[in-house]
Every structure is written in structure tokens, then in C-alpha cells.
Symmetry: C2
Subunit: 322 residues, 2 copies
Amino acid sequence: MTSHHDTGAKTVAEVGEFGLIRAVNENRRQPSSTLLGPGDDAALIATPDGRVVASTDVLVQGVHFRLDWSTPEQVGRKAVAVNLADVAAMGAVPTSVLVGLACPGDTPAAMITELADGMWAEAAAAGAGLVGGDTVQADQLMISVTALGDLRGRDPVTRAGARPGDIVAVCGRLGWAAAGLAVLHRGFRSPVSVVNAQRFPEPPYAAGPAAAEAGATAMIDVSDGLIADLGHIAEASEVGIDIRTDALDISHRLIEVGTALGADPLRWVLTGGEDHALAAAFPPFAELPEGWRRIGSVTMPGSGLTVDGEPYHDEGGWEHWR
Amino acid sequence: MTSHHDTGAKTVAEVGEFGLIRAVNENRRQPSSTLLGPGDDAALIATPDGRVVASTDVLVQGVHFRLDWSTPEQVGRKAVAVNLADVAAMGAVPTSVLVGLACPGDTPAAMITELADGMWAEAAAAGAGLVGGDTVQADQLMISVTALGDLRGRDPVTRAGARPGDIVAVCGRLGWAAAGLAVLHRGFRSPVSVVNAQRFPEPPYAAGPAAAEAGATAMIDVSDGLIADLGHIAEASEVGIDIRTDALDISHRLIEVGTALGADPLRWVLTGGEDHALAAAFPPFAELPEGWRRIGSVTMPGSGLTVDGEPYHDEGGWEHWR
């Protein structure tokens, strides 16, 4: 994929900062919202709405990805996807991405251009462009991505608007990345569909604005796990949430993998992070947009986060540092 | 400065991700442009102009700062200042900052809140707020900052608009950070004014929009050194630039330090980076805004970057990886 980049077998130290920036940005196609792309002190992006949605996430090698498990292109896709999912979870349409990249000087330049290929591919899939960034030297590969988006005149859908009686629904895969992680930890590399879900998420970007349009009262992207992230909505909205396990559509693929590894696929679905599905609350009689499926209800304040009406004692979820 | 944060002597691992985010954001005052601050999937910032200026820079411990030379508060100021200077160099008014922070789990939480104090102080000095971010674990302290700004209806001032005959002018200090670095490398800690210039820049934020208002044809912030950065303007504008050394107002403080260390203060002024002064081209008869001083002229294409009419053979400047 990188044969068009003239970096040969050189390291980033040999190619130099400006050569690297050139290699990462040449032959790329910016969306029309990019009024001024990379190459100046700053980028300029259209915000027709008069507001801009902005989110930053940092991925660190060995913590958020492993280069013996993922290709640089997959890591690039993941770094951009996790950020664009945050933008979509506000109900916004992604417009652009800025990338801060730190890596050792002896990193092959081709690795960075492959990483950039993945970033550009994922940004393009959401209609966004890479508009700027910075590359610096560090002991460890680290990727910081800031994603921007436009609400197209709608109110942002925060975590705080869910009301008792609302429908709770999700769009996108749940538990796949966790299943993939379990597979990789056992030293396997298949089934590929499950393993790839761990390598890079495929967030349903368009489902965020569609949910906002349909009147979603609260929304979040499932990065820490369904229970943990619905817990964030419950806390911010000061309500309870009950998940119905019979409404969780567990893929036969996850059941197969669970059986093979002696693991419970329901646990992956309830607690597995990194799939970046969207979860939202909708008014009781809302018509759910395409791809959204009901999985529970918003309950009264004080009733907490329950599964089939009972507290779930194996919370899982992912918090850094702990 | 951090006595109001309830983190005691704990490490970031002990405080946890959510505790850290709380400590960093509590008791802070957002500007009116922050429509939705930290705590949700993304922030929402007003962009009354219908466009947003965006820039990202990454600072790495041991590469861009040293904690035996600078306090965490000074590092925080620097991380934000270098980004806000990029926004100002487009002629924009800074509105907000997003921060991606990576550090080892055994980092004292108080260090991170001090870092945040510095970030908040610098952002506030420019009228901006910290609107979001991410904290993750890594082997090395790394700070990635994205700064956003508003052009207030003006065209962006890029590097590409300088024309032969234009005035070349600067606003802000030149050579101070380089002098401070020379002092620190010799193991000294004074004069404090010079050493502090290395610890954190004080970019003249308001001078960027003022220059745009006065008709600046090209602008850049001096991060790599005056010759290197004016070279970027010359290249992007396809012109030459001549700097007149008799117009460079070399502070007696730099002359003193140069004498003490046996170094040439003119070289610091011409090649020293990290002061984040602003350099710009103005039309021949423009009235320079307050604080701007003429240091040279834009010359014909092909004449290159000259000092007193001669090529300068000791380019200096700072390029990563090389």
C-alpha cells in the first residue's frame, strides 16, 4: 500500500521531519470541509454550524495496540476510529482529524506511512480528512488523535438526557473486540473476523447523527464495555438502566469462540470494550433508526445499572491506571 | 498551587483515570466559547466565524522539556503556549485546548495537577479553556495539545502570501530561549529571565490577530529559529527575504549572557528556536501594529534567505529526527 511513498527502507531519522510529513500527506484527498490542510502553522476547517465538536484520544504501543498483533495500517485505523466514534456519539458528522505522533528515531519510515494509510482510510470512511499534526521523537510509539465534527444545527446528544421510560438501544458490534483479545492472548490468529475486531473497531459513524435526528436523549460510544458505558449515561442522567439479556443478539461467531475457549460470550457482550458501538436512550415511542436495536430501558433514579432486573456483580470495563 | 486538589501524595495509578480527570478540571473557569466542556464523549466549542483554526503539537520529556530544569507548571505552560502560538500565527484568536497526556503509572498525581495548573494558566492568558483530553499510561511523559481558534471573519494569514517589497517584521522575543538553554547546559540557573524563557515561551498572542487586521501578507511563529522560519515563508511564498542585523534589537541581557558564556548573541537571535515570537510580512506602506518591529524586507524570487544581503551559512534551526 505504501509503494507510492518514496521513503525506501529508511528510518524516520533518515527521512527527517519534513520528509516524513511529505510522505504522510502526499496524494491524499481532502474533503470539501478542509479549507486549509497540512503544511502551515495550523489547519482551517469549515464549521457551517457555528460550533465544532472536538475529542482527543491517545493510543500507546503495548497498552492500546501491539505491533505483533496488528499491522501499522490497522493501528492507524484504530487510532482514528476511536476518536471519530466519540464525535459520532455526540450526534455529529466527522470532518477532520489532527494527529500527534511520537516514535523512536529508528522506526522504519514505511511503518509510519502505512500507519498514515490506515488513518487516511478510516478518516475517509467517515467523510473526514487528516488536516494537520506533529511528529516527534520518543522512546515509545504513541498516537494522539483529535477529531472534529459538525452537528449540522442539531443539539449535541450528551450522556445526561436519559429519562425513566426511555428505550435503551445499541448500534454496532458488542463483545467482538473482547473475544478477539481472548483469541490473541491464547496465541491464535483466527477466526479473522473476531481477531480483526480487536485490531480495529468499525464504529457505525452514520448511526450517531441518525440517532440524534430520531430524538436520542443520551448517547455514548461503547469503549469501556456496555455496562460501564451505560453506567456513565445512568450516572450523568441520574437514572437507572436495565439491560435485557434476551434482547442482546449474541452472534453465533462469538458463541463458537466462547465454546472453543471455555469463555462466556455474554460476558464479552456486557463488559468487553473497544468495539465502539454506539449506545443511546430514545423516547418511549421513538422509531429507532436503521441498525439500532432495543436492549433495555431507562429505569427510575436509584435503581442503578441492572441486567434482567438484577445488579451485575462482574462489572468489567476498562479504566486506565487501575 | 495545587493544595485545592485532593490527590495528596498519591500516584496517578492510585488516583485512577476518573479521579485524575476530576482533579485536573475542578474549580476551573471556562470561557464563553466553551459550550460543552470536559466530561462527555467530546467537547463543543463555539465557532462564530463558521470556520475553526486547529493545530497539534506534541512535547516529550527529555526531548522538549526536562523536569530537572522546569517545574511541571512551567512544562504545562509551554505545552499549551507552543500550540496557541500556532493559532495566533494564522491571525486567529485562541478559543480552546484539548490535551492528550501519557505518563507512567507511578507519576505523582500532584505533578499532573501542577501540569494542568500551568496549562490552564497559559490557556486563560490567551482567553482559551481546556475543553477535553485523555490520560493514558506510557513509559515516558508525553503531552499532545490541540489548540483551536477563531478568525473572526478574517482570511487566515498563511506562510504563502509574502510579496517582493513587503516589510518583514517580528513581535516578541528572539534568542532568549536559546540563551536560556546555553545557561542551563552549563549548569547555571540564572539570570532567571533568560532561563525562564527556555522553560516556557511567552508568545504575543494578541499580535497575531492584530497583524492580520493590519494586512499581514504572511505569518509564522518562530519555533525553529528566525532564519529557519522566515525560510519557510520565503519557500511557501516563492520569494527571497533579507534580514538587517542593525534592525535586530539585541537585548543587553542577551549580550551579557553571551559575554559570560563566550557565545554570540546574534546567533541566538538568528537561529534560536522555542521563543515563539511571531514573524510576518506586511505590505510596503502598512502601519505596523503595536509591538511589531521591522527587521527586513521581502526580496525577489531566487534571492534566497539573506542576512545583510549575504547568505547565512550557519543556518541552525531545529528539525526533529536530524
